[in-house]
């Protein structure tokens, strides 16, 4: 397999932009109509994902280690969509036909053999990872909404009971699909440490124009069955460090950190925890009463609410500034969750103030997003 030739070929094909993915899916759906229902109505985001994934595979084809981890994730992640080993042949056929179409006369037997070999390798890694995963857990969990409470103007807390029981670590997330928006999956963090009854909470913030968040807050009633993908994510509590903890949550970024707080509460000797909980306005601090109650019951916990606009009796300002001004965090373990920009700014500021990068824990969905 000539890697350089594949890269040159892909660069040429990629010049056609969105047209490539459009052609690929049309080819696939014409040849294998049964694959169409596996995708959402609008394919716009899907096409971008495909192009990103292809570009990522081609560009990291030299570093086998990283690529294989990416492909294994991708293979496992595809189980919840109902992807079977047979589908890989269909996709391979359409992908090759698409590449041939956009390569014009540059497409010859050698190039075809190279692409075929590359795809077979990719598919075999994905299929193997999926089959391994099959032995360990279901493709998806069915979760019934048992409670639904609007805790702020735009935040709803869903309590879901799953079948079978969802095993996860505090800090992790699952992709959720609502029957009102089939084939659209969005990641939400479990907002509690595992309970005896197996139920889990999700904090859903209504995003303007957000198809799934809207379906989960308004279009879904108690009793509705959701689909949950496998627990994913890298945010976990380092229970062995012995250091004190700094938690920074903005808006519904609180969810994974709340689950971790409950985990801390269950430790034999809980370390001191400072939780900064930020929102734009005071009524965005949707879970503050619960947190304050928790803090009243636990000496090790300090909750600091922060609001960036409007009137508020507590601390005010951008969350990142308030945290930096508040004290020296260089000896802590930090856990951050919230909008990407806030998390990035905060992590950068903490690192600049001397907190080692390895002790700043953030969620990174990266390539796992469907």
């Amino acid at each position: 397999m000539d890697v350089a030739r594949l890269k040159t070929s892909f660069a040429r094909i990629a010049m056609h932009g969105d047209e490539v993915a459009l052609h690929f899916y049309s080819d696939l759906f014409l040849k294998y109509p049964e694959t169409r229902p596996m995708f959402p109505v609008s394919m716009q985001a899907q096409r971008a994902h495909l192009v990103d994934a292809l570009a990522n595979i081609v560009s990291s084809v030299d570093s086998v280690e990283a690529l294989s981890e990416f492909l294994r994730d991708l293979g496992r992640g595809h189980r919840k969509f109902g992807t079977l080993a047979d589908h890989y042949d269909a996709v391979g056929g359409s992908l090759l036909a698409t590449f041939a179409h956009f390569s014009g006369a540059a497409w010859d037997a050698e190039l075809e053999a190279d692409w075929k070999g590359a795809y077979e390798l990719i598919a075999s890694v994905m299929i193997a990872a999926a089959q391994e995963d099959e032995q360990l857990r279901p493709a998806y969990w069915t979760g019934v909404i048992v409670a639904q409470e609007r805790s702020a103007f735009d935040v709803t807390v869903l309590t879901v009971r799953t079948e079978p029981r969802l095993e996860y670590l505090p800090g992790q997330s699952v992709a959720i699909e609502s029957p009102a928006r089939p084939r659209l999956w969005r990641y939400y963090s479990m907002a509690n440490a595992p309970r005896a009854d197996g139920s889990v909470d999700f904090h859903v913030r209504l995003i303007d124009g957000g198809a799934v968040s809207m379906a989960l807050t308004d279009g879904t009633a108690v009793g509705t069955e959701l689909r949950l993908g496998p627990p994913a994510g890298v945010l976990r509590l380092d229970t062995a460090s012995g250091r004190e903890i700094l938690m920074i949550a903005q808006s519904t970024g609180l969810a994974p950190l709340k689950a971790m707080l409950e985990q801390v509460a269950g430790l034999r000797q809980p370390p001191g925890v400072h939780l900064f909980f930020g929102a734009r306005s005071a009524d965005g601090l949707y879970d503050l009463p619960g947190l304050e109650k928790m803090a009243a019951g636990h000496q090790w916990l300090t909750v600091v609410p922060v609001v960036s606009a409007g009137r508020f009796s507590g601390l005010r300002g951008p969350l990142t500034d308030v945290v930096s001004r508040y004290g020296d965090w260089s000896g802590h373990d930090a856990y951050l969750a919230g909008p990407t920009e806030m998390v990035r700014d905060c992590a950068g500021r903490l690192a600049a103030a001397g907190l080692p990068a390895g002790r700043i824990h953030v969620e990174d969905f990266g390539w796992s997003e469907p």
């Binding site: 660069a11 040429r12 990629a14 010049m15 056609h16 932009g17 969105d18 047209e19 459009l22 052609h23 899916y25 049309s26 080819d27 759906f29 014409l30 109505v41 609008s42 394919m43 716009q44 179409h101 956009f102 014009g104 006369a105 540059a106 103007f153 735009d154 209504l206 303007d208 124009g209 957000g210 198809a211 809207m214 306005s281 009524d283 409007g310 009137r311």
Partner: protein, 207 residues
């Protein structure tokens, strides 16, 4: 037949290059172009180039198809008027354009619902702000009036000034509270009704 391939050109400007190109910043700060418009223009050029490349590719394919057709005829094989492959590519194009239409409809609907919720959010912030202001005003007014009532009760003529101090204090407090709650309740009722009317008017406009 590779010499007439449409892409067989070296060192040509590519859409990727347009997306990656950077310009040095001017030495004296503010004399250069503003970055945003330059970026926006490049994005436009990028989209246009992708479109042109795709148009050219399909023209090239069409040329190839016609060429095959002519060659086929010349060699006495006129069966290749419209081959099976051509039909498939046509079908792919039709399906692709249908998909594009569907994507646009979904995107439009999403943008519309986004605008609606955004407006609702802004409107709600406004109502909440007004309510907050109004509540502050009410509290202040009720407080002032109640204080006046308490002073009046304290100076009530019918009460002996020295001997019944406790009773007078209690009466003052009672008057304060009664007036406060009266004023507050009355105003709140008016205000709530007003807000409800606004919401109803707003709802009927929506439907």
């Amino acid at each position: 037949m590779t010499s007439d391939a449409w892409y067989d050109e070296q060192n040509r400007l590519t859409p990727d290059y347009l997306q990656a190109v950077t310009f040095p910043l001017t030495r004296w700060g503010r004399h250069g172009y503003e970055e945003e418009p330059v970026r926006a223009f490049l994005a436009e050029v990028h989209a246009e180039m992708v479109r042109l490349i795709n148009e050219r590719a399909s023209l090239w394919q069409e040329v190839q198809r016609l060429r095959r057709r002519i060659l086929g005829k010349e060699s006495g094989n006129d069966a290749i008027l419209f081959g099976k492959d051509d039909a498939h590519v046509h079908a792919v194009r039709i399906l692709s354009s249908a998909q594009r239409t569907a994507d646009r409809y979904v995107a439009d609907a999403q943008a519309y619902s986004g605008r609606l919720t955004e407006e609702a959010r802004a409107r709600r912030d406004e109502i909440m702000g007004q309510a907050q202001q109004h509540a502050d005003m009410l509290l202040e007014e009720a407080g002032t009036r109640a204080r006046a009532a308490a002073v009046a009760a304290m100076n009530h003529d019918g009460l002996p000034p020295q001997t019944d101090q406790e009773r007078r204090a209690a009466a003052a407090e009672l008057a304060y509270l009664r007036t406060f709650s009266d004023v507050y309740r009355k105003h709140l009722k008016i205000y709530t009704e007003d807000v409800l009317r606004t919401i109803e008017a707003w709802e009927s406009r929506e439907t």
